[in-house]
Amino acid sequence: MEEVIKAEHLTKDYGGGRGIFDISFFITKGEVFGFVGTNGSGKTTTIRHIMGFIKPKNGTVTVLGMDAWKDACKIKESVAYIPGEIAFPDLTTGIEFLKAQAELLGLKSMDRAEELIKRLQLDPSANLKRMSKGMKQKTAIVAALMADKDILILDEPTTGLDPLMRETFLELILEEKRKGKTILMSSQMFDELEETCDRVALIYDGKIIDIADVNALKSSTIKSYKIEFLDKEDYLKFKKLKYKIIRDQEKYYQVTVQIDDSEINRLFKSLSKYKLKFISEIKFNLEKHFKDILEKEVKGGKNVF
């Protein structure tokens, strides 16, 4: 597998514990890679290194085999970028900005841009300064995607978009993925990363804590169910059955069991004998996965999300 982006022992110490430390990861061609982490965890700093805006103190970043700092200009021929901060150059309208950007990119045709504008329902003739956050974000998305570059680096691209637009945007990303593009996307939303990414890296305090394989998580057959009983008798009887109970709340006659999908019929048969208040599935998702890891890694198991 061809490694399109590769970071090795990337370190930038800003002092006072801020910065990124010994970050290593790779992204293969056609892969969608996610960054997740709290504010100030180091997602943007890592992305700035890839874009060649910052010189690493230690370690290297290569894009398509080229050094991200030294060959920054060459790399940009294949890279499109949505910055985390939405601020446009001092121009009047959206269309003026897009045209200026197209000129800088050496783009001849605006067909793709017009298509994107339609998809995102953007009014590009609006004044850039008076645009809402969502409008600005849409403009930035169009500017990044219109050149049809092979690598997309998106720093929190869905900020400010309404839920419907977010869906449209995620669809767009999936389309790009199908075209075989390599995508790096950072976000604070687990669900959108889960929906689009192949792998997601968790960054905490400037370090990569874990890189999760989303597809493996999705295909997992182990599920959790929360069950509450109407009376104490049934609750105690159920507990005697040999199910794996991961959480037990006596006060509410409530248990959380973890079973493999193959055991689901046995569970339902058992439950048919008792009077239940409700049963609900607790999804085992990326968020839960990372929470579990953080609780183990970080002392005191603070609620970080």
Binding site: F53, P83, A87, P89, D90, E96, E103, G106
Partner: protein, 554 residues
């Protein structure tokens, strides 16, 4: 080539409104300064002050001339009166021989010693020595003459002159001796006037004019005395002759002034009445000067001063003009004000070094910041740098924009200034085309240096606030220093100047824009221009390289 057309266009679109406002405002201000102030003739006050001083000088000359002429006339009368002494007329020949014998002996001794007769300085020295010796030897006899030592030495000098002119004078005839002495006196009066004006630094031609005038005065005075002394029952009265002298001198001044103003052979009526007016005024001035002179002589006679001192003092007082009567410091300040170049001050030192570069400076501070630091701070630089555009290309393109916008601005200002100068009279105006072009070049180079410095700050800092406060702050500080320093610089007249404030000029690179050197036609402005250009080039280059190497928070 490190140049991006697209980025250049973007910078133009972002800044053209600022550029236009600043350029139009600066051009309009400059046009107003040159045209409106030019046609208001602000130099009128200066010119009238200058006139006052020139007229005062002329008045001084006139007064001096009147007093000198009056003195010559009265002295001549006095001399004629002395020769008219009955005792002297009996022994004139004997006295003459007595006086000359000592003098001739000295000449003979000198001729023997040096092999040639004495001339020039040597002859003058011999005359002095002979006179002194004569006075000491004949003290008792001379005491009877009722003459001061000064008068006697003057008399002896005339005797020696007579002997020089005519060594074989027939001394047996008293009449001939006296006539000869009178002739020598006239010559002596002319010589004295000549020497006086030469010692005052006048040309030989002018001094000769005064010699002729003195000769004529002496002749007239002596003739007038002789005529009067022939009349029956004549008694010498000094006052009568003083009256006569006054009358004669003021009429002489009248005629001189009148002729001065009639230049053509066939004068028009207007010219004549004009000349008459001036001549009357001159006559009045002359009369006043003579009266003043007489009053001071009367006032001081009997004081401890000698006669010569009294005369000199009275003459000084009588020939004083208006400006001699005001305190020296005030007179100096007024004269400086009269000589001040108000256009040079307003256009050169105030417009081109302060008022005219204020708006371009605001433009430079804002635009230089916006071209790099502002875009890095807001994050919009990310869009440019996410395209295949080198950082050096970005820096060079922005630098080119800043330089060219400034150049275009000053080209328009130059065109405006040249047209304005042409409107108010071209090269006849107080500031000519070459000077105004150098002013524009200087203002451009000054702004070029500030632009380089602000650009460098914009390239070094990632935050607008630092770029603005360090780049813009220092620039404004320098402009303020130039304003304060103006009150200590020598373009401001000394009456308004506070020398200590000149220290502010050392804190500002605007001091390298030397408008005084340009106006005075010296070339010291040229190397200062070169320093300004050097500052600009160095700071621009530092800016480009720094922007290429630094971390960008995008």
């Amino acid at each position: 080539m490190y140049f991006s057309k697209a980025l250049f266009k973007q910078s133009m679109k972002a800044n053209w409104v600022k550029w236009l406002c600043v350029t139009v405002a600066t051009c309009v201000m400059l046009a107003i300064v040159i045209i409106v102030l030019g046609s208001l003739a602000i130099n009128d006050i200066r010119d009238s002050l200058k006139d006052v001083f020139e007229q005062a000088d002329q008045e001084g000359y006139l007064n001096e001339n009147s007093v000198d002429s009056y003195e010559a006339y009265t002295l001549s009368v006095d001399f004629a009166n002395q020769l008219d002494d009955p005792m002297l007329s009996m022994f004139a020949g004997t006295a003459y021989n007595m006086a000359v014998s000592g003098y001739q002996e000295k000449i003979d001794a000198y001729t023997e010693a040096n092999g040639q007769a004495p001339t020039g300085e040597a002859l003058e020295t011999i005359k002095e020595e002979a006179a002194t010796e004569f006075i000491t030897e004949n003290e008792s006899i001379l005491a009877m003459l009722n003459m001061t030592d000064e008068e006697i030495s003057q008399f002896l000098y005339i005797v020696y002159m007579t002997h020089d002119n005519n060594p074989t004078l027939d001394t047996t005839n008293n009449e001939t001796v006296i006539t000869e002495l009178k002739e020598s006196f006239v010559e002596y009066a002319g010589l004295t006037a000549y020497n006086l004006y030469i010692s005052q630094g006048e040309t030989e031609e002018v001094a000769n004019g005064y010699r002729l005038q003195a000769v004529e005065l002496a002749n007239t005075a002596i003739n007038s005395y002789e005529q009067k002394s022939q009349e029956e029952g004549f008694v010498y009265d000094e006052e009568v002759f003083k009256e006569e002298a006054n009358e004669y001198v003021i009429n002489m001044i009248y005629t001189q002034t009148y002729n001065q103003f009639i230049t053509s052979e066939t004068p028009t009526e207007e010219e004549i009445s004009n000349a008459e007016q001036y001549a009357v005024a001159a006559k009045v001035l002359a009369n006043t000067a003579i009266s003043t002179y007489e009053l001071w002589i009367d006032e001081l006679t009997g004081s401890e001063m000698t006669d010569a001192e009294i005369k000199a003092y009275a003459k000084e007082q009588a020939s004083a003009s208006i400006t001699d009567q005001i305190p020296e410091k005030v007179a100096e300040a007024l004269e400086e004000l009269g000589n001040m170049d108000i256009y040079g001050l307003i256009i050169g030192s105030i417009f081109y070094r302060i008022a005219g570069i204020l708006l371009p400076m605001v433009f430079v501070i804002m635009v230089a910041n916006g071209l790099l630091a502002g875009q890095v701070d807001s994050g919009s630089m990310a869009y440019v740098l996410s395209t295949p555009t080198k950082r050096r290309t970005v820096a060079c393109t922005q630098m080119a924009y800043l330089m060219l916008s400034l150049l275009a601005m000053f080209l328009l200002v130059t065109v405006t200034s040249v047209i304005s100068i042409w409107v108010v009279g071209g090269n006849n105006f107080a500031i000519n085309f070459a000077e105004i072009c150098l002013f524009n070049l200087g203002a451009f180079l000054t702004m070029f240096a500030f632009a380089g410095y602000c650009f460098m700050c914009s390239a070094i800092f990632n935050r607008s606030k630092y770029s603005m406060s360090i780049g813009g702050g220092l620039s404004i500080f320098m402009l303020v220093c130039t304003i304060l320093g103006l009150f200590g610089s020598n373009v401001v007249p000394s009456a308004m100047r506070i020398d200590a404030m000149n220290v502010f000029n050392y804190f500002s690179i605007i001091s390298l824009f030397d408008t005084v050197s340009i106006l005075n036609g010296t070339i010291s402005f040229a190397w200062k221009f070169a320093i300004l250009a050097g500052i600009a080039i160095v700071t621009f280059i530092i800016g480009v390289f720094r922007f290429e190497k630094k971390d960008l928070p995008l």
